[in-house]
Symmetry: C2
Subunit: 141 residues, 2 copies
DNA sequence: TATAAACTTGACCATTTTAGTCGGGTATGT
DNA sequence: ACATACCCGACTAAAATGGTCAAGTTTATA
């Protein structure tokens, strides 16, 4: 079970953005330099964040990105959903009655993995960008 | 974030084993047929489970595997550790002061991912094979 | 109005991981 | 003896990951 860089980068970048976008739009170039993330990769990520209305873009010189919502309205769930970082604990189709490995019924551990998925998603549901900002000011001292 | 088949199979197989090993050793062939898991793959998995003293093997005809501990002493943590299914939420070295992407300090989200890792591991720590057996008898009705 | 900064889009790619397979063993109950 | 079942290591096809690259379009500002 590992968290992919795409998900990690998305959150890193948004925390960075949240810190600086009150002053003026933040360019991906700046985020790239500050966070050490490839610029080209960031562009892919922000394209998705924009489609999901988490950020707004301003084109042209002095342009960049700005948050499209308040930090406390942006949950990790929203961010992960935007960049397709999904929690997947089973192979079988959730809706179908069928189990994994082509079995006719759900396997002996299916409920367990379902529980696990809920457990993890709860964490993402309960964290917003704002939490990360506060948290970070604390550890900054 | 996805759970790999190796981890899922290990737990499936052990639940199967726990159900039948009071009578006599359970062969991988039987588990393979009942659970729909490749026999060759199961052998790799059980080799690790054995090294970690979660199961014992009996060779020869009528042989097979038996649990090496009580179901309530076998936690998901133990199983996952045995088959190298580890939870990994960060890229950076935990021990090092250095951050991800070669930065000198830990990044703005490091604490978050640490929390997440603990959150997930807590789930695995609190579930034993016994829980799965009980749970399953309930849903069997 | 020329220029450069910065977003936009889509294709491409190397590496790593996953989920196995395969081919040989060795031990042992009947 | 022989079939059953564990044991062990090498190999591999396919998918996912973590990017890169090329070719735009938009817009502030000098
Ligand atoms: S995981 Fe859903 S049926 Fe096995
Ligand atoms: S995740 Fe540990 S420093 Fe970024």
């Amino acid at each position: 079970m590992k968290l992919t860089s795409k998900g990690r980068y998305a959150v890193m970048a948004l925390v960075d953005l949240a810190r600086f976008d009150n002053i003026n739009p933040v360019s991906l170039r700046d985020i790239s330099l500050r966070q050490g993330i490839s610029l080209d990769y960031l562009e892919q990520i922000f394209s998705k964040l924009k489609k999901n209305e988490i950020v707004k873009s301003i084109r042209g010189t002095q342009g960049g990105y700005v948050l499209n919502k308040n930090p406390n309205e942006i949950k990790l769930t929203n961010i992960f959903h935007a960049v397709d970082e999904k929690v997947k604990t089973v192979q079988c189709k959730k809706e179908s009655k069928k189990g994994c490995n082509g079995k006719a019924t759900k396997c002996v551990t299916h409920n367990l993995w379902d529980e696990l998925e809920v457990h993890i998603n709860t964490f993402f549901e309960n964290k917003s960008l704002k939490d990360l900002l506060n948290n970070n000011q604390e550890t900054r001292v």
